[in-house]
């Protein structure tokens, strides 16, 4: 699940299914235009129930090996324009690099850009080769009308080559889409109980543990940074550092308000209550990323009231780090050594500083980009967990899963993550086709 080829097959189906939905109409219609298969006819499509959508995401590899969806002519034209521009740029840079009298700065700048373009250029070369192959096979077909066997073979090979060409095109499309560099990073998870008192704190703890179990299933490292407990041992606030491959890219969609409807443990009369928990996902950064200088930091530790040092034996090595220029403060206390508390505090501080910088950069981006999924509006209500009815709905992609217990055990979160990643790609394609190069 979740590989490039399979995902584009599902892209097609997601588009068609989304077209049938009565919800989210304004966002869907814009995207349909982009990826329409040639014979697309809305009336022919069957109505698809919410639950069957899940089955499509879990489609077997046998199905995905067949036809790739067609890209629309518009999209292909735009791609070709951009690819031509990239090829030109590539030649220009190669010329610089090959000049014997290029200065070191010119050389290294050109080289850096060449590196970024290399993947796309390789794909273009592959695609052009494939086109030649296809041309050759087509010629063979017309020339072998009399030879049935030859014609058959050529026909089969042409079919295969066409499929491969489509696959290359999709990879090319992906390489051209805007990417978030932060996707590869580790992340910081912050969970905060919102409205709902004790019940919200208890649910905050449940959600925190859900992410812990999900991380373990993914083989990621889940390191608790800080927990503030409520009276009933729920979590008023909790934070963790999650490390692994592309963690931020997968978890970033969790930012937002998660709403829960259930009968609280404290509730005597069995009434269902609604409470909310806010989740924030920050990409991890190090001191270099945020240009953090030691002079900008003020570090405080717990003072035992006496002279400290040999005079005192305390196990309290809590550290408070303040970033003087911004006033940001982070407190970490639960590690067993001061050094480890300080290390965690700096990790969290750097992530927050990085987020401030990214938000500043985002503010100057186009309106289209900020409307897209994952743009991090933290007060957006993104998901509702309804325990009496046993279902969880993500409001951004309109998907519901009926195994709420499995989800809370960290099992089915991929359902949402994959759908959200897909939506992100569709958004990226929309943005790609609407911007002039």
């Amino acid at each position: 699940m979740g590989n490039g080829g399979g995902r584009f097959w599902r892209l097609n189906h997601c588009v068609m299914v989304a077209a049938c939905r009565k919800l989210h109409s304004h966002t869907i219609s814009r995207r349909i235009n982009v990826c329409r298969p040639p014979n697309y006819n809305r009336s022919q499509l069957p109505f698809v129930k919410e639950t069957t959508l899940l089955r499509r995401y879990f489609s077997s590899s046998a199905e995905t090996a067949q036809s790739q969806p067609e890209l629309s002519l518009d999209l292909i034209n735009i791609m070709d324009q951009k690819l031509a521009a990239i090829e030109n740029r590539n030649s220009f840079l190669q010329a610089i690099v090959n000049q014997p009298d290029a200065s070191p700065e010119q050389y290294s700048t050109a080289n850096k850009e060449l590196k970024k373009l290399r993947h796309t250029v390789e794909l273009v070369t592959e695609m052009r080769k494939k086109h030649k192959e296809i041309e050759g096979l087509k010629l063979l077909l017309t020339e072998s009308q009399d030879d049935k066997d030859m014609h058959q073979m050529a026909s089969e090979e042409l079919g295969q080559a066409s499929e491969e060409e489509k696959r290359i095109r999709h990879s090319l499309l992906k390489s051209l889409l805007p990417k978030d560099d932060a996707d590869e990073r580790d992340c910081i998870l912050e969970v905060r109980a919102g409205t709902g008192g004790e019940e919200a704190s208890l649910f905050a703890m449940d959600i925190f543990k859900m992410y812990e179990k999900y991380s373990q299933k993914k083989g990621w490292k889940f390191e608790v940074l800080d927990v503030a407990e409520s009276d009933l041992k729920g979590y008023k606030e909790a934070s963790a550092a999650i490390s692994g491959a592309d963690v931020y890219g997968k978890l970033k969609f969790e930012s937002g308000v998660h709403r829960v409807q259930r009968v609280p443990v404290t509730e005597k009369s069995g009434r269902v209550h609604t409470s909310a928990v806010s989740v924030v996902i920050l990409p991890q950064a190090d001191q270099v990323d945020v240009h953090l200088k030691n002079e900008d930091l003020k570090i405080d530790t717990y003072r035992s009231g006496g002279s400290g040092g040999q005079h005192a034996n305390t196990t309290n090595s809590a550290v408070r780090v303040t970033h003087v220029p911004t006033g940001l403060t982070v407190n970490i206390q639960d590690e067993r050594s001061q050094h480890m508390n300080k290390a965690k505090a700096l990790k969290l501080l750097c992530a927050k500083l990085y987020e401030i910088e990214r938000a500043r950069a985002d503010a100057s981006r186009s309106r289209l980009r900020t409307e897209q999924i994952g743009s991090g509006d933290r007060s957006e209500r993104i998901r509702t967990y309804n325990f009496p009815q046993g279902r969880v709905t993500d409001h951004r992609v309109g998907i519901t899963t009926h195994s709420i217990d499995g989800l809370m055990q960290g099992e089915n979160l991929d359902t949402f993550v994959d759908a959200l990643l897909l939506q992100q790609e569709m958004d990226a394609i929309a943005s790609f086709t609407s911007t002039k190069h």
Binding site: G308, G309, H311, N313, S337, H339
Partner: protein, 360 residues
Amino acid sequence: MKSSTFTRASLSSILQPAFSPRPISGRPITCSAVAPKPQTPLHLRPPSFRATLSELQKWHIWAKNKASSVGSTFLDLDNGPESTLLHRELNWLVEDALEQPALLSRNNYDDATPVSVRARLDDLYDLWKQRIDERRPFQYVVGCEHWRDLVLSVEEGVLIPRPETEMILDLVEESVTQNAGLKNGLWADLGTGSGALAIGVARVIGSGRGRVVASDLSPIAVAVASYNVRRYNLQERVDVRLGSWFEPLNDVNEELSGLVSNPPYIPTENIEGLQAEVCKHEPRLALDGGENGMSDLIHLCNGAASMLRPGGFFAFETNGEVQSELLVDYMDSKVKGSFFDVNIASDFAGIRRFVTGYRA
């Protein structure tokens, strides 16, 4: 075997060190045949004991109540720990004692499931009683201290490394960054205790030609420091010797590239007034700095003037404000010209605690 572990705790306050504080002979004291055997920290012991989950949960509730009952009485009495801190310590005791600490938070109190533990159930009761009733330091109770990025074995007879002392390693790191040549020489950590600074310095100067020699007057400290050095696989690079300050280094031919120490610096009369964890359980030998607390600091200063090579670095921890300044005054007057770039660095509480400098 188990009972001997706990009689030691009470004996240590009666036992005097085998050697007097200021040995007269110039010969380095070699290890006698009765080298003490270091105890294994709780978290490293095999989980070969069993208790049922309900028995453990009963203990846990009893221990939590005991911690809560303290309130702020210790704090008011002698700046000791209050309940919040004790609860956190209890969590750590559970982490060290149980193979699967999370089991304790399961809700079924009738659970007869056998659970693997690194100590007997009776011992768990004894350990927590010692913590609360006798104010036995938490670090001795679990047999280890987390310090900087290390986990060090500690036991009665060994000073528990303080968080403030972590900064000495930061200062060493700064110094070798600016003077890379120092990394390849011989460093000394005198009064090494658990070996904390010796191990830390070895890791800072890296795996090149640099070496560390550590000394301590207490045989228990030497045993524990050696154990810790072996745990970090540094026995090829860190040499722990028994003896007083510089004496075990008499056969060292080269001059030192660096010298660090956290010597006893509490004035004798102040010791009784300290919190019970310190004055009733930690070794006097490691705390008592004489009448003004400065005897050993001065001794180290003199030694540094003769044993450090030109450009060699030193870092000493002191009581704070007054002692640091007195030490710097001493350097400027009694051993004038011996050092340059002498500096006083503050700890995170703002106390000017560390005197550093270079041999001229």
